[in-house]
Symmetry: C2
Subunit: 332 residues, 2 copies
């Protein structure tokens, strides 16, 4: 099995219907996308995406009912990692007179959500398959921790272990006469390894479309150019060698490190407050003027995108398009 | 001079017209508010705030023109810390056929924006006063770094030094036959010291309305209760002693520390990814069920508020009101 062409997003791409359509144009699989929240899935469905996987657990009956309502517009799949939630999804699907596809999320050392691979995952798969209003959809097997392991060897080893545990689970499920239509996972840091494993049939990388400073610290760095920048302006330069930018915590995420200044290796973004960023100039102190604009490379693209209502698409110095970040803030 | 009653916000309050009106009802000064960005000032003006201080530098002619346009609706003041920007504001005010009030921001060891106190600040004040379309409005003297100094003594010393430098500057400006109508600054961590200094006549604290975990680490902590929470749900509890919440980087700011779990000191919010928070239970591992809701206390209130479109006001367990975060994302 090779990689399927579903475009997924643990990554900020999910906020953007327009980019999804552009991705779909270039792919075999016409219109499959991932989301993490029911409110995001709603935006995708309203935007015409016909096959949506919520690659995450949803445990509220009201939120599940919102997903069930979307089955009139799109195919909706969701993940589960406990019998309690499987039964809850079944009850909601029944009362909504629809069917929902449910994948079993397994914990392949990501250390977040997910049932244990092997027997526990198999038992949960059988429970889904036996639920009258559910369709067993396969396995969600995302190794999030592996994405930013810095060396190729570490990433290969982590995904090798994840793939082995996934393959064992697929085999155990098959012995129960069930097939895993989707065996999904992977991110921008590791997708080549999942693709090469022969185990996964769906790759869910998303950050590659934008990239960020944290992914660029992987060795080797993923083979994608930085396309996402926050344009900011020098608002104060009252002392030599120091300047203040008009972009701080509200404008850029620092959870995975401070931003870098694009094409200006002589400038460090040294600290952030809510609306300010402090710059330190390591070269000519006079080289940065009030009003000058700089492109910041976010440390982490996903939560940075989620702060904005619009993307501005540039072609050189020309604005080519403006896209809404359609699912911004859709956290429910 | 005692503290004026202008409510200011380096803090998230500025995102919310409704709360501003409620603050105004309880104050002598009917309708003065701070903002940090022209786009925020627009929301305030459209919401009926009649006296707006952009307590920050704005260096783009286009953004300044937006502020100038607001002078038809409200009194608009702005800060400057360089002659270049003063001349730019003058040019915009002239071409907009209006007058803008400009305060000189001085750097009282906040280490961010601001001209040096004393002679440089005085020269800039004179330059403003001599500009035909500008009104000299006074001094902006905010010591941001002092807000989270942990001991009372450190905070008192820092504000004592800031107040002394501010007083010297006020005196120097007075020798130029200019009066400082506003001498503004202070935040939730230090406002008692600015108020007691006899120097400041405007206090710009904002976080007090919400509070956060970082302010609560001051000793003594500011005398305000926590009122801002992010309601989140346990979405996975696949292993004993560990659980996963449905709120991560997109839902809560971690720049000033991880969130605390309100009223559950036996639970640590131990790590965040984009849409997930990992909990560690230090008590009975069975005490946290899937679907259970927990109130998170943000490490930092300002950028947390800026992630949301709505506040939900609770009275006990009852929803009492829903407020829009009217200026969310108004970063321009």
């Amino acid at each position: 099995m090779g990689p399927d062409s579903r475009e997924a997003s643990f990554e900020p791409v999910h906020d953007l219907i327009d980019i999804r359509h552009r991705q779909a144009e270039r792919r075999a699989h016409p219109d499959g996308q991932c989301a993490q929240k029911p409110a995001e899935a709603e935006v995708l469905a309203w935007g015409g995406v016909s096959d949506i996987l919520v690659s995450n657990e949803v445990v509220s009956s009201r939120k599940l009912a919102r997903l069930a309502a979307l089955t009139n517009m799109s195919k909706i799949s969701i993940c589960a990692d406990s019998a309690i939630v499987v039964d809850q999804i079944e009850a909601v699907a029944e009362s909504s007179a629809t069917r929902l596809t449910v994948l079993v999320e397994i914990d392949v050392s990501g250390g977040r959500c997910g049932v244990e691979p092997g027997e526990p995952a198999t038992a949960l798969s059988v429970r889904i398959a036996r639920s009258r209003h559910l369709v067993f959809g396969g396995l969600q097997s995302y190794q999030g921790r592996a994405q930013h392991l810095r060396t190729e060897q570490e990433r290969r080893d982590a995904i090798g272990q994840a793939a082995a545990r996934t393959a064992d689970t697929v085999a155990a499920i098959r012995r129960q006469k069930l097939e895993c239509a989707i065996i999904g996972g992977a991110g921008t840091g590791t997708f080549a390894h999942e693709a090469a494993s022969g185990v996964y049939n769906e790759l869910q990388a998303g950050s590659y479309a934008f990239m960020d400073a944290d992914y660029a610290r992987n060795r080797p760095a993923p083979d994608f150019e930085q396309s996402l920048f926050v344009l900011s302006t020098v608002m104060s330069a009252a002392r030599p060698g120091i300047a203040v930018l008009d972009c701080g915590h509200k404008g850029i995420a620092i959870d995975s490190g401070l931003p870098l200044v694009h094409a200006r290796q002589d400038i460090d973004y040294a600290g952030a407050s809510d609306e300010h960023g402090s710059l330190i100039l390591r070269s000519d102190p006079g080289s940065l003027a009030i009003g000058e604009t700089l492109r910041l490379v976010p440390g982490h693209c996903d939560p940075t995108v989620d702060r904005y209502d619009w993307y501005v698409g540039m072609s050189g110095k020309r604005v080519e398009c403006v896209f809404p970040v359609a699912a911004r803030g859709m956290m429910q």
